[in-house]
Symmetry: C2
């Protein structure tokens, strides 16, 4: 008897991701999967987004964390509907976890749903959640060689945000080199340079979100 | 018929880790498993270590990465014997990978073997490699709440190094709070504050290594 454990898991995930994607499309909802290392600034970017255009676009958030609801609490302050998924030690979100959260989050009427994945630059890259776009954040303090060392998430990315650009003067990070390394993996990858601390580059991110909604 | 897939994997890992540990002990070799997020500064800390006391202690290194041999190349400059393990997408080292690298690395005569794990604050915590000590690096730019959000690695740690302490003035990181959060998970955890950039705190790390060798 043949046993195909990994193949079955991934097939099952893709089937559920496909159901999620249909549901999102049916609602005219755009879904953005946010990936990064721990502490690269995903939640802070969401906070800045809601401060900036939270009254112009109807956002929702699914927060993924190993444990705690700290990120959900930070986001909820802005009046954005949010649900927290705790993986209980698990290193990534999968499509079933996302689907299981739907009863807790009214999707109808939302325009953009952010799924903030577990902080992990490796494992989440293998799991389709049904998203329209994958955004990868790379924080300046992580070093500009990360696209070479963790290629799978950069390959999956539709947008690379280089965050904490205000720290460049205090590190050896070379922005051009980071972008060049990322484009070796993913040649057409757009790159935005952002500082959530100073606000630099945030407008280009907000424009990216507005353009996403504009798409049919 | 009962199928216990995960249990078997972990049992097998523990058996091989136990073999590794016996081998290390038989050689009088101390082994340090280094864990952190991507880009927290593990390799740079090794470089500073070899610059500082590379002529006083006989070090060896096993480098674990998803791909590339960049870290091994950085370390080799200091004349330290090093072997690179590429996991090919895998998110952690396991005991068998470590054991498989032994033929490539002459363990006899070494005093401290560093195993630099894959940059990942979640998955490596579940895999015993046969190490004597686990050192966790947390970089200031990751934020001081990480021990609460990723408790398993902090629970496994024998030493917490808060690295990039020179970036504190440019971030919201609170060193006391980070240490307090880590000690909620692991009450007796020693904490060192270090900057590989300025050299601050490095002497206390080198003393920790000297003390490790002194142990019977």
């Amino acid at each position: 008897m043949e046993i195909k454990v990994v193949a079955n898991i991934m097939d099952a995930n893709d089937q559920i991701a496909s159901q999620n994607r249909k549901r999102f499309q049916g609602l005219g909802l755009k879904v953005v999967n946010m990936l990064s290392s721990p502490g690269a600034g995903k939640t802070t970017l969401l906070e800045k987004t809601f401060q900036g255009i939270g009254n112009q676009i109807r956002f929702g958030v699914i927060e993924g964390d190993v444990q705690t609801s700290r990120d959900a609490e930070r986001v909820q302050v802005y009046g954005v509907p949010v649900v927290q998924i705790n993986t209980g030690g698990g290193c990534h979100l999968d499509a079933n976890m996302v689907q299981s959260s739907f009863p807790e989050l009214k999707l109808e009427g939302l325009e953009i749903l952010f799924i903030e994945n577990v902080g992990n630059l490796i494992c989440p890259s293998a799991y389709d959640l049904g998203e329209d776009r994958t955004v990868v954040l790379l924080s300046v303090s992580e070093g500009d060689d990360k696209p070479l060392k963790y290629p799978a998430v950069f390959r999956k990315a539709d947008l690379l945000i280089i965050n904490k650009i205000d720290l460049v003067p205090y590190t050896d990070f070379n922005v051009r080199r980071a972008a060049e390394f990322a484009r070796r993996i993913n040649p057409a990858l757009p790159v935005l340079e952002i500082s959530c601390r100073t606000g630099e580059g945030l407008e280009s991110w907000l424009s990216w979100l507005r353009a996403l909604i504009g798409e049919q």
